[in-house]
């Protein structure tokens, strides 16, 4: 499995890591053994911005994957 498949798996399953990736992509990439080149950080920032736009469409500043809010 490539480093980026690992990264994708981690992003989908780990809310803290998603938050880390959004706030400090270079540090988050390093924490999973990926060298944070400028191009990579720019690509991550673009993805994070896209995700934030999707959240804004809902009118909420929420972590979508971790909080489909079904109270039980």
């Amino acid at each position: 499995m490539s480093q980026f498949q690992d990264l994708y798996n981690r992003v989908l399953s780990d809310a803290q890591f998603r938050s880390h990736l959004a706030s400090d992509p270079a540090d988050a990439l390093q924490s999973v053994g990926i060298t944070p080149t400028d191009d990579l950080v720019a690509a991550i920032n673009s993805i994070v911005a896209n995700v934030e736009e999707i959240g804004k469409d809902l009118g909420a500043d929420i972590d979508l994957i971790g909080t489909v809010p079904f109270a039980t």
Binding site: Y8, L40, A71
Partner: protein, 312 residues
């Protein structure tokens, strides 16, 4: 979403439940409040039961009585809510334990109080030989039996999900049975219970969708995760399958149930219920569509293999 009459009655009942525990045992009340604080603000316990994404266990009996009489007996509804809230706390603590959540064992003696109040409240309205008690026993045992069976399931498919996993909430229909039997309309229980049963499927899948990562990490089996194991390719991880297929798969199941729920709701003479269900469908569609789109956005990470990784 809620009328002020309903909300104020729910608030009063939720606060009464904790106040009664405090009156009977300040020690237990303190411990129960700590447990409750992990789920909601214990100073506003009604928020847990009136949350827009919660199962409307307090509202369904209200709408049912309104459909029969055109209005509700607020005192009766307040008692139903009080019973239901105590029953819910009982079921929630048991469920948390069964799911392996970290729960302070000093909370457990409060279970005596919760089940007592859940049960005793109905004695005010139904004599010991009333037919209501048969429904009470049937529904409570269905919850107990489903909870026992659910935790032993290894590979869950559609049948097990509908007949077991989604039936853990069966006892939530007890206050609806109370309305039907108090007003001598026992024939209404089956259609309202049927709607609640379908809603249980819809909500359980939503819950499994929300918790898929935590469930996967902690080895809890759900239909969604069983499906992931059946469908994903040999080298595909569960998160990758969720992003590629799982979110959409679960959403389509929920859409199918919601169609059935709305069709069932149309025949129950309750515009409030139909309006509520329509709102839930729309908010769920927006949220899960956003979830699918978010997963798709993150899938671009898989293309980063091709971004140069050596600084020029």
């Amino acid at each position: 979403m809620w009328t002020s009459d309903f909300f104020l009655t729910a608030r009063s009942a939720a606060r009464r439940a904790l106040a009664d525990l405090e009156l009977n045992s300040p020690l237990l009340a303190g411990r129960a409040s700590k447990w409750l604080a992990s789920r909601c603000n214990p100073d506003q316990p009604e928020s847990y039961f009136t949350h827009p994404q919660a199962v409307p266990i307090l509202a369904l009996p209200w709408w049912l009585e309104t459909s029969i009489r055109g209005h509700v007996d607020v005192t009766f509804q307040a008692d139903l809510m009080y019973s239901t809230i105590n029953g819910y706390y009982f079921a929630r603590i048991v469920d948390d334990l069964m799911d392996g959540h970290n729960i302070d064992c000093t909370v457990l003696p409060s279970l005596y109080f919760f089940i007592m109040k859940f049960h005793n409240t109905y004695h005010k309205y139904f004599g010991r030989t009333d037919s209501f008690w048969s429904e009470f026993e049937r529904l409570l045992m269905e919850t107990a039996d489903s909870a026992a069976a659910d935790c032993a399931l290894e590979d869950i498919g559609a049948t097990a999900f509908v007949q077991v996993s989604a039936r853990k909430s069966a006892a939530g229909a007890i206050p609806m049975a109370a309305v039907c039997y108090l007003y001598k309309r026992a024939e209404l229980l089956a259609p309202w219970e049927g709607l609640f049963r379908l809603f249980g499927c819809w909500h359980q899948m939503g819950d499994d969708l929300a918790d898929w990562s935590d469930d996967s990490e902690n080895g809890r089996r759900t239909w969604l995760l069983s499906e992931a194991d059946r469908q994903r390719s040999a080298n595909e991880s569960i998160p990758a399958w969720m992003g590629r297929v799982g979110f959409q798969w679960a959403f389509e199941k929920m859409e199918g149930w919601m169609e059935e729920i709305l069709a069932a709701g149309e025949g129950l003479n309750s515009p409030e219920l139909v309006s509520y269900l329509s709102q839930r469908r729309e908010s769920c569609r927006r949220e899960v569509t956003a979830l699918v789109n978010t997963a798709a956005a993150y899938a671009k990470l898989l293309q980063l293999d091709y971004v140069p990784q050596v600084q020029p």
